[in-house]
């Protein structure tokens, strides 16, 4: 990827596409100032807040929809409509409703991520193994144990997928909303660099942000996943 970038950059003026070396140096400078970490922290906090809210609501709504016809009928249109509304629309609405406050990014992330996560949990709950539930009933397994030993292990991989999807979407939405109306966070920094026509800075912020995503994926998500599906990996071994 870096090689391809360097090759294309060699043919274009640096105002359009500076090479990876230039951007790398700029990124290192940014990281040295402490500003980078400040804005990054603000952005991550917003994503986490919006995501956690959406996640909690989606687990409740999704499992209810999977388990009860009535809930499915009531919530299904909301989920479907929610899925089709572009994230950008929500961002604009959020800015108009909440102005330049922390509510704007958190709300935007929450409403964009929620339908997707709910769909995930809903389908997952419908896919629960009925045979195992019947088995638990035959052995008169109490409700708490059914949850812990039968239901949760089947839903955990879905929750993990939900975290992945939710965060991926959340990053996109947070940067958009920061560009629109906030003075802090990675998005607003990209916007400021854009106003100053500094391509080096725009790319440095984008790359820096992407690197953080990578670290999150490899340091948190993959190990968590590996732990969760250990029983499945045994088979392949």
């Amino acid at each position: 990827m870096l090689v391809l970038w360097a090759m294309i950059a060699a043919f274009l003026p640096p105002t359009l596409l500076p090479g990876p070396a230039v951007v790398g140096v700029r990124l290192a400078e940014l990281m040295g100032t402490g500003d980078f970490w400040l804005h990054l922290r603000v952005t991550v906090q917003r994503v986490v807040a919006g995501f956690v809210l959406a996640f909690v609501v989606s687990v409740a709504a999704g499992t209810l929809m999977g388990a009860r016809r009535l809930a499915e009928g009531v919530f299904e249109p909301w989920v479907l409509v929610g899925l089709t509304i572009p994230g950008l629309c929500w961002v604009v609405l959020a800015v108009m409703w909440f102005g330049i406050t922390e509510m704007t990014p958190v709300f935007a992330i929450f409403v964009v991520v929620l339908p997707m996560l709910t769909l995930n949990m809903w389908q997952g709950t419908k896919g629960l193994d009925r045979d195992l539930l019947e088995m638990a009933r035959v052995f008169r397994v109490p409700w708490s144990s059914v949850m812990r030993d039968v239901v949760l292990p089947q839903l955990l991989p879905l929750c993990l997928a939900g975290v992945r999807m939710g965060f991926a979407l959340g990053w996109k939405v947070v940067v958009l909303s920061e560009m629109f109306g906030l003075s802090s966070g990675v998005g607003s920094m990209i916007n400021r660099s854009f106003s100053a026509s500094s391509m080096d800075d725009v790319l440095a912020w984008t790359v820096g942000f992407t690197l953080v995503m990578f670290v999150f994926e490899y340091a948190v998500m993959l190990p968590a996943e590996r732990r969760l599906v250990r029983w499945r990996q045994v088979v392949r071994a």
Partner: protein, 248 residues
């Protein structure tokens, strides 16, 4: 304990209030520690009988007694082996057995011995800490048998446990079951559509008609429980069962 199924009928409501009769005055008895096979054509209501015996659904008429008392899920212990193993694949073999022990209220300090005993009985004691998916289909089914036996059931219900295995594996598993059958304390009801399996394993064979199921014929098998599958007596019984089923 003695199992008595007396004059039991069951039907299911279909659309427009039509009643689909499934069991028609079914009566049979199994002696304490006896091994009875129910043989019938596919879809005749064999699984419905097992669900009734497990207390999952109530009969429309008639009565089911275990040890002289009417079937009650709270006081009678029922073990169930399904067509498929239905194990928790994310739990080890040991934890799968403990799952049933905990539900039955067995104190935790007894688990170790109980788990070892039942796994040793089905010949899987060295696999206690493996995950089910690392075992073959036949071994998984034996874990399911161990899980059912762990709660020391009064009645053990077994639903075509080898029907989804290939014939060679099924033979080995039947042989295994015959090996430890005499150590099962429970009264066993074993459902199958395989007449040879019934003749090989059972003390008594009850033949069911097509739906609505009635008991049409019963056989008492006098041969010793250690009989071989190619024993002429077994072959003759199989033929008689098939004849009662209307095959041949």
């Amino acid at each position: 304990m003695r199992l008595e199924v007396l004059d039991v009928s069951k039907g299911f409501r279909r659309g427009a209030g039509r009643l689909l009769p499934v069991l028609d005055h079914v009566t049979f008895r199994v002696e304490p520690r006896g091994f009875a096979c129910l043989v019938g054509p596919s879809g005749c209501g064999k699984s419905t009988i097992l669900n009734l015996l497990a207390g999952l659904i109530p009969p429309d008429g008639g009565v089911i007694r275990i040890g002289g008392r009417e079937l009650d899920r709270r006081s009678h212990r029922i073990g169930y082996v399904f067509q498929r193993p239905r194990l928790l694949n994310w739990r080890t073999v040991r934890q799968n057995v403990e799952f049933a022990l905990r539900a039955d209220g067995v104190p935790a300090d007894e688990w170790r011995v109980r788990v070892y005993d039942v796994l040793a009985l089905v010949g899987l004691e060295q696999f206690a800490d493996e995950y089910p998916l690392t075992l073959s289909g036949g071994m998984q089914q034996r874990v399911a048998i161990a899980r059912a036996l762990a709660i020391a059931p009064d009645v053990l219900l077994i639903d075509e446990p080898f029907s989804h295995l290939d014939e060679l594996t099924a033979r080995t598993q039947r042989r295994e079951l015959r090996r430890f059958r005499d150590q099962i304390e429970a009264t066993v009801v074993f459902v199958t559509h395989n007449a040879l399996e019934a003749a090989y394993l059972a003390d008594r064979v009850y033949v069911l008609s097509a739906r609505p199921a009635r008991i049409t014929t019963e056989f008492t098998i006098e041969a010793p429980r250690t009989r071989e599958i190619d024993d002429p007596y077994v072959i003759d019984t199989q033929r008689a069962v098939l004849k009662a089923l209307g095959v041949e």
